[in-house]
Amino acid sequence: MKIALFNGMSPFIRGGAEILVDDLYDELKKRGHSVTLFRIPFPNNYEMPLMQTMLAAKLFDFSEYDRVIAFKFPAFYAVHPGKVLWIFHQFRQVYELYNKEYGLSDKYESHIALRQLISVSDKNSFENAKHIYTIAAEVTERMKKYNGVDSVKINPPLKDFEKYSCKAYGDYLFYPSRVTDLKRQLLLVSAMKHTKTNVKLVIAGICENDKYLSQIKSQISENALENRVVFENRWISEQEKLDYLANCLACAFIPYKEDYGFITLEGFYSSKAVLTCVDSGGPLEFVEDGKTGYITQPTPQALAEAMDKLYADRKNAEKMGQAARKEIIDRNITWDETVRRLLL
């Protein structure tokens, strides 16, 4: 089959979504399909350039392909009779983030107009899709709530999951991710000052927001956490990540309404419990409070308490980690099944 994968991109930034599409590309190729990955750059300016990008996504001609699989806004506006959507997320700033800290707001007329336009355009593009899948229950729920559209969840598999291992249950929680407001690393650093044990924290990932970066650094220095918080402000290598995962006490993953998040899967395959929050979205599909990790309120105090519990009762942290590994293996999230459904 001749397949076009069509995605949006933030130039120079590579996150879980990009890795997932690359993995799908490899998996389709392995199965003998002719595949090309197309991407369109997502603008920083949310007004005219964003509307132009939306229009552009509709104008590209995919008629020579048997199947188009689209992932992110506005790539899912592509026009093709065999269009299948596997949605990572919509333009969240006009949906669940609207009128909130991270979203657009009613204060601006242009934002109101943009919200209406995107809502209508999203709905039209969903109506023209052959199948609508999402990567997580969180995304499926959002689409039902905001667009009244039914979709089916296909949890993305983790590539090469056999490379994840557990070597020890050390003294630190590990949080590998892009460092942004929405991932809330600052909240976790703030929690560290409330901990009563000697639990440590390792954050790994690049921060491109200078203000947020300086807030994290200040929080560390003002509370004299230099010896207990390691902040690797860079993209660590795959091997470094595997080593950190293999030796950590548990994983931390506390984003705000994350769509999916591979970190949960990585932690589980490494036999590590995952600490997350009640409003973290995707991880809640996997983490069971007290069994495979802890789910707390998104406050420094609550997070600190959970971190102390993990540190103080290592045996339990280990037990939860092993339960997490069993849980993820039992779910049997495989590429064979994913590809089969995407090509239906």
Binding site: K2, A4, F6, M9, S10, P11, F12, S34, T36, L37, F38, R39, I40, P41, P43, N44, N45, P49, Q52, T53, L55, A56, A57, L59, F60, D61, F62, S63, E64, Y65
Partner: protein, 328 residues
């Protein structure tokens, strides 16, 4: 410097754009923050203006420099832009009103006029317009009155191999498009006695593919023509007795010809093949033929083709090519 590379890729024609985007990305990453993306392109004459419009609407302002590869990715606007082209909507220009291009009627005239205006408006703002052949360079210079440069594209290697010990074959690579004149390849195969034609088809429209297969059968040439649906690999060039190109007035110099010349494989070329003759200047191992007669395609000519290659074309390596392209 933050460099963004954008390329247009056709599903059934050429792989040079995709390979060049990947090659440039890899090289430029050594010294710059670099990212790259591909855009779909279909030679649908009626949707061409829409596809061009789609490119003009994209926002590439995140980078300090934009390098575009192919048409119509060159329509993405940026205040520091280098556009590299293999061809530019040939059906509206070099193949206009011919059996390979768009028929001259009022509807297409209007589209052609629109495309020409957009080309001129946007390409004239580019800092550099670089063409993969002198013929294309001259065309664009004449049509749009803009300054152009010529840089021949580096060769791209493919590792694919069937581990076969075929030795006596003429190699051809084609997408079986009408403008590549597959009928000439059929005729060429008929002229050979001891040699086979090994035809590599990296991408092909299902209709052209099926038509060609039926044609080979109807001519009883199944033993003579071996079709492989992949690009030719390095070993395929090394073992080839000769290479044949049957293109008609092409502006694109295909990777396969560059590979053949680099590997010093004798070349049969159609007299009217177009830009490909540019890199055959000074190449001793070549014989021209006319597409309607294929008169010089013989076993004897493969054996006796000249051996004087002094001054022959050698393709540039991707590293220096990328540096030169990014120099502004």
């Amino acid at each position: 410097m933050r460099i963004l590379i954008a390329g247009s890729v056709m599903s059934n024609e050429g792989y040079e754009e995709e390979r060049l985007v990947r090659g440039l990305e890899k090289e430029l990453k050594k010294n710059h923050t670099t990212d790259a993306f591909l855009l779909p392109f279909t030679r649908n004459f009626l949707t061409l203006p829409e596809q061009i419009l789609a490119c003009t609407l994209l926002d590439a302002s995140e980078c300090d420099m934009l390098i575009t590869v192919g048409y119509p990715a060159c329509m993405i606007e940026h205040n520091k832009k280098v556009a590299y082209l293999f061809d530019a909507a040939p059906h509206f220009w070099e193949y206009w009103d011919s059996q390979y291009g768009v028929l001259c009627n009022n509807q297409y005239l209007n589209i052609r006029d629109t495309v020409n205006k957009i080309d001129k408006k946007i390409l004239s703002k580019a800092d550099k317009v670089v063409c993969g052949s002198k013929l294309l360079s001259d065309d664009i210079n004449k049509r749009l009155d803009i300054k152009t440069e010529t840089m021949y594209c580096p060769a791209f290697d493919f590792d694919e191999s069937d581990n076969e010990n075929d030795k006596k074959y003429i190699l051809a690579e084609s997408e079986l498009l009408p403008l590549q004149r597959p009928e000439v390849l059929i005729e060429a195969a008929k002229k050979l006695n001891d040699y086979k034609l090994k035809l590599f088809v990296p991408n092909a429209d299902i209709v052209y593919k099926e038509t060609f297969e039926k044609w080979v059968c109807s001519e009883g040439l199944q033993e003579k023509i071996k079709v492989l649906y992949r690009p030719a690999g390095t070993e395929d060039y090394n073992n080839a007795s000769a290479y044949i190109t049957s293109d008609f007035e092409a502006r694109r110099i295909p990777n396969s010809l560059i590979k053949a010349v680099n590997a010093e494989v004798p070349v049969f070329f159609a007299q009217d093949c177009g830009a490909e003759t540019e890199i055959l200047k000074g190449y001793g191992l070549k014989i021209a033929f006319s597409a309607d007669k294929c008169e010089n395609i013989t076993d004897k000519n493969i054996v006796y083709m000249g051996k004087n290659n002094s001054g022959a074309f050698k393709s540039e390596d991707i590293s220096s090519f990328a540096e030169r392209l990014a120099e502004l």
